[in-house]
Symmetry: C2
Subunit: 207 residues, 2 copies
């Protein structure tokens, strides 16, 4: 899937990158507070440090801002994961570490994750598949680790089970972000990681 371009007029590459970064940074902080729909293009421009006219030199439609923001957040999460997770080992500890690390990333970027989770649906038919695909890539990272474990006989799962389990890890990580209104009253992040890891690995059956 090719990256959807958000063309502006032909300008200096460096400047475009710089302006886009200002824009993304400003927009994220606004979307965190008020959501995409309640945020005004003028507010985005002001928060980015330039005028409404300049904003429209670097995007075509307001929705382009949302696209750029979602794109950036996914990249941020994926980069952090790739940087810290070892998908080659294939033992139980590296799975546990991957889960723990992923949950910590979600915690660190909880506002950003929340923005994406709540606003991605407002993307048009063009951009949405591209963004959803990025999500599947991240799920695939967990699938990969799980598959390696199965190969090594650490536990045994069907392919169907592997994929579902990977989705579960992904969603239960996000849950720490989008249900914090309930969860933070009950657990610290460390408790959450420890408990979820236990429940994920062992289920609830007496053994």
């Amino acid at each position: 899937m090719k990256k959807r371009e958000v063309p502006a007029s032909v300008k200096d590459e460096r400047l475009v990158k710089k302006r886009r970064n200002q824009m993304i940074k400003g927009a994220i902080s606004l979307f965190k507070q008020k959501g995409f729909h309640q945020t005004t293009t003028r507010e985005i421009a002001r928060a980015s440090g330039f005028s409404i006219g300049t904003l429209y030199e670097y995007i075509r439609k307001k929705e382009d801002v949302l696209y750029l923001v979602c794109d950036r957040i996914y990249d941020e999460v994926r980069d952090r994961m790739e940087q810290a997770i070892d998908t080659t080992q294939g033992d139980l500890d590296s799975l546990k570490l991957a889960i723990a690390y992923y949950f910590r990333v979600v915690d660190e970027l909880q506002d950003e994750v929340l923005v994406m989770y709540q606003e991605a649906k407002s993307l048009g038919k063009e951009s949405l598949p591209y963004v959803l695909n990025k999500e599947l890539q991240m799920v695939a990272m967990f699938e990969h680790i799980l598959r390696r474990c199965v190969d090594n006989g650490v536990f045994s799962l069907t392919e169907q089970e592997i994929q579902l389990f990977a989705h579960n890890i992904f969603v239960l990580g996000q849950m720490w972000g989008f249900r914090r209104w309930a969860l933070k009253k009950m657990y610290t992040l460390d408790e959450y990681i420890q408990l979820q890891t236990k429940l994920l690995l062992e289920g609830l059956m007496k053994r």
Copy 2:
């Protein structure tokens, strides 16, 4: 927590109920298609079968419609659950049945559940806590079943684990609704129920 009222002028009780029902039905079908923000009060009125003027005889602000819709959906889900789930047994089978039944309810009402999930955040500071509380009540149904199982020695969990597990069931049920773009390609509902039940109860460890 008392039900937040959405007062209109003093009118015949029966009629108010009837109009509200028309409104909720029309609004849900619109919100499903286009979301709350993209839906116009005029469209809501038209879909409800009356005029924009009449709409405003029964609400004060557009947001009131969203509140009524969320309220209705939660009640619908809860009613179906209460009707079918036995919280008194406290054995493994009634837990499995509760999970299966809940997942089926989410499937049946997937559009409604999706609407709530995506739009509830747009509720104001007044209504949001009331709606979130309804959600906790549903989580509490699972907690109750789990607690009874623990009492009966079916399995053993700390109170912390019970609460988290209940949240997990709740969220993984909703996951079938909000990630159907990915999940429906991989599983039928029955497969999903069966696999999730297995993973929830047994985890992934070799035994």
